[in-house]
């Protein structure tokens, strides 16, 4: 996990606003990036992944952006809901089976 990190450990967002969670990575060989959500007392849950040959991918209420020039990954959550409160991890895969996780960003949604 040394090559993956997050810019901010915590993020507080008003319910209904959009959230942006950032992540920097340093391993140029990584070819797949993933965002996981971890709620208290639970295991990480896959949100969305993006391959290195893409720069944007959209899911349901989530968008992942990849900027390989500056080795930056972000997760955007539209219309943040109370159920989005959790710790979010970015992770990278350099082509084998191992995932390297960052330290995580704790998102708190204010009602």
């Amino acid at each position: 996990g040394e090559s993956v990190g997050l810019h901010l450990p915590t993020l507080s967002v008003q319910e209904g606003d959009n959230s942006i969670i950032n992540c920097a990575y340093s391993n140029s060989a990584s070819d797949y990036f993933i965002w996981y959500k971890q709620e208290s007392g639970k295991g990480p849950q896959f949100i969305i992944g993006i391959r290195s040959n893409m720069d944007k991918r959209q899911g349901q209420r989530v968008t992942v952006l990849l900027n390989k020039t500056v080795k930056h990954l972000s997760l955007q959550i539209a219309a943040t809901q109370p159920g989005d409160s959790a710790v979010y991890f970015c992770a990278e895969n350099s082509g084998d089976y191992k995932l390297s996780f960052g330290a995580g960003t704790t998102v708190t949604v204010r009602a």
Partner: protein, 114 residues
């Protein structure tokens, strides 16, 4: 079951005791992983199985840690002579064979060594 199941959910061990943590992966998932998650940190890779073969154990912290998956399904992580620094959440994950298949994590076993 529908997801990865881990037991026990919580384990308290006295320093020096041996513990065994169990993982039931999703049926049909070839790949199985163990990760260790310290408080406030991201998961750290411990070991990887493809079916019954342990292909990578480079993340195991010491020779006190041992993992097995004898029939290619259920896996057990054993820690001998537990130390306080072993206190963490131990996560099991399984996936299909494709390296980029999403990992499905269990809810972990929280180990506290006193």
């Amino acid at each position: 079951g529908a997801g990865v199941s881990q037991s026990p959910r919580y384990k308290v061990a006295k320093r020096g005791q041996d513990v065994a943590l169990r993982c039931d992966p999703i049926s049909g998932h070839v790949s199985l992983f163990w990760y260790q998650q310290a408080l406030g940190q991201g998961p750290e890779f411990l070991t990887y199985f493809q079916n019954e073969a342990q292909l990578d154990k480079s993340g195991l912290p010491s020779d006190r840690f041992f993992a097995e998956r004898p029939e290619g399904s259920v896996s057990t992580l054993k820690i001998q002579r537990t130390q306080q620094e072993d206190s963490a959440v131990y996560l099991c994950a399984s996936s299909r064979e494709d390296p980029n298949s999403p990992l499905h994590f269990g809810n972990g076993t929280r180990l506290t060594v006193t």
